[in-house]
Amino acid sequence: MNVLCFVEPDDELSAQAIGFARSLGDTRAVTFGGTYQPAAWARALAAHDADAILAAGSDRGNELLAHVGAILDRAFAANVTSIAGGVVTRQRWGGSLLEEARLHGSPQLLTVAPHTQPAAEIGAVETLSAEDDGSPKVLERIEEASGGVSLREAKVVVGGGRGVGSAEGFTVIEELAGLLGGAVGCSRVVTSAGWRPHTDQVGQTGTKISADLYVACGISGATQHIAGAKGAKRILAINNDPEAPILAVADYAVIGDLHEVVPAISAELRKAQG
């Protein structure tokens, strides 16, 4: 198979995608120079003769492939975890459910589900150019005043859910996050209750984290939340309820009241850190 794979330089998800692409066949890794203009870039991709066009299941990857699919009037399978004999397995519900589907036609268009493939060396990348077709493109980038660690990039995220009980209750969460040099996250109930801003929300419709450790405090583990948390390499759940769904996806757990457990962990950390 001739495979065309869109990558972005120094991008972890692209590194995961390129390995997957190579497992399908001869792969050309391509990227674009200049301002991001999704429809135009997609047109350029679509113009190539390939049996399969891939990208990472990132915001840009999914967007580009969707455009390619529309341009070529071909099916596009987003967030694929495997493909065999024309049958893809792809993620639904942010990864809590899988769909097996037959992908008809050519080229096969798919994006690779984040954090389901090992990263590979991206290697040689061709830089293509795309003709400006008048479609929307990025006009400017406004940097945001970075107040602390970004949730998306944090190596450690400490999240609080319904169990935290109030906006003030998050002080203990912030304390632990601070001691671990991490970011504070929360579940959707917390943002709906107005205790934290939506920018702190970890979930299917919030931020999808890729931390080394996610500490989920007082979070029951609804699939909508897990969808945002499963990118974390390890999950530690702190919960009163031994039957909470989060324990089925966590690596470690402490059964107890977060208002007692979290400060205790912070205290131990301070002792250890001297």
Partner: protein, 250 residues
């Protein structure tokens, strides 16, 4: 402005995914339904724009007869009328869905703005809005957290991890939005009562042969994993710190 917002009826799942016996769908017997948080924000945004600049909000869905409930919810917060593309089957992939939407609005007065959630809560194909845009020959910007209509155009912003990319496009256009765009209002009861009387057009639709043909659904392994319990209550703290040190984060 005439704004079309497309929404999808999805079940409110809990912590577990349970499938029907034939593995073709989620078991929804005792589940409630809603629309995705992205779409709630889309409807709210449309209603706000029309409240300040005048116009009409039309909300459309492709789904079973019960999806009327979701359309009435949207009307309760201010959408003016609804379109239900009624279907008995769930076998609609993103391409087919986009096609049905395009067909249904073919005869209507043109819309200035078509809003979609960035991806649906369940199937999450990330493509319906983009396909509709191409079919109608309209520009499309996706993944938006901010929308500012200007005369005959719209300026919009997308989060890119610590920064915002700014786009501008002339109208008419298709935009797909993310939760966080706004804070959707809670419906008032007078709004709900009025919504019962607002016009709802129904059309029966059937899907074409699918190019992404669903064979079955599978609950991924890893569910049913049992976490290693490090301890109970505050006494677990020392063991937790040990683990944190092992993981290299403390």
């Amino acid at each position: 402005m005439r704004i079309l917002v497309c929404v999808k009826r999805v079940p409110i799942t809990g912590g577990k995914m349970v499938l029907t016996e034939d593995g073709q769908a989620l078991e929804t017997k005792h589940l409630g339904f809603t629309i995705s948080p992205h779409e709630e924000c889309a409807v709210e945004e449309a209603v706000r724009i029309v409240e300040s600049d005048g116009g009409e909000v039309v909300v459309l869905t492709l789904g079973p007869a019960e999806a009327e409930e979701q359309l009435r919810d949207c009307m309760a917060i201010g959408a003016d009328r609804g379109i239900l593309l009624e279907t008995e089957t769930e076998d609609w992939d993103a391409q087919a869905t986009a096609g049905a939407i395009v067909d249904s609005i073919g005869d209507d007065e043109p819309f200035d703005l078509l809003l979609f959630g960035n991806e649906s809560a369940d199937a999450a194909g990330y493509q319906v809005g983009i396909r509709v845009a191409h079919a109608l020959g309209l520009p499309v910007v996706t993944g938006l957290k901010k929308i500012e209509p200007r005369a005959g155009a719209v300026r919009c912003e997308r989060d890119v991890g610590g920064a915002r990319d700014v786009y501008e496009t002339p109208l008419p256009a298709v935009l797909t939005v993310l939760e966080g765009l706004n804070l959707p209002r809670y419906p008032s009861v007078p709004g709900r009562l009025r919504a019962k009387q607002k016009p709802l057009a129904r059309t029966a639709v059937t899907p074409p042969t699918s190019q992404l043909e669903k064979l079955r659904l599978v609950v991924p392994e890893g569910q049913g994993k049992q976490a290693e319990v490090l301890g109970e209550g505050a006494q677990a703290a020392p063991r937790v710190v040990e683990v944190l040190q092992e993981l290299g984060v403390a």
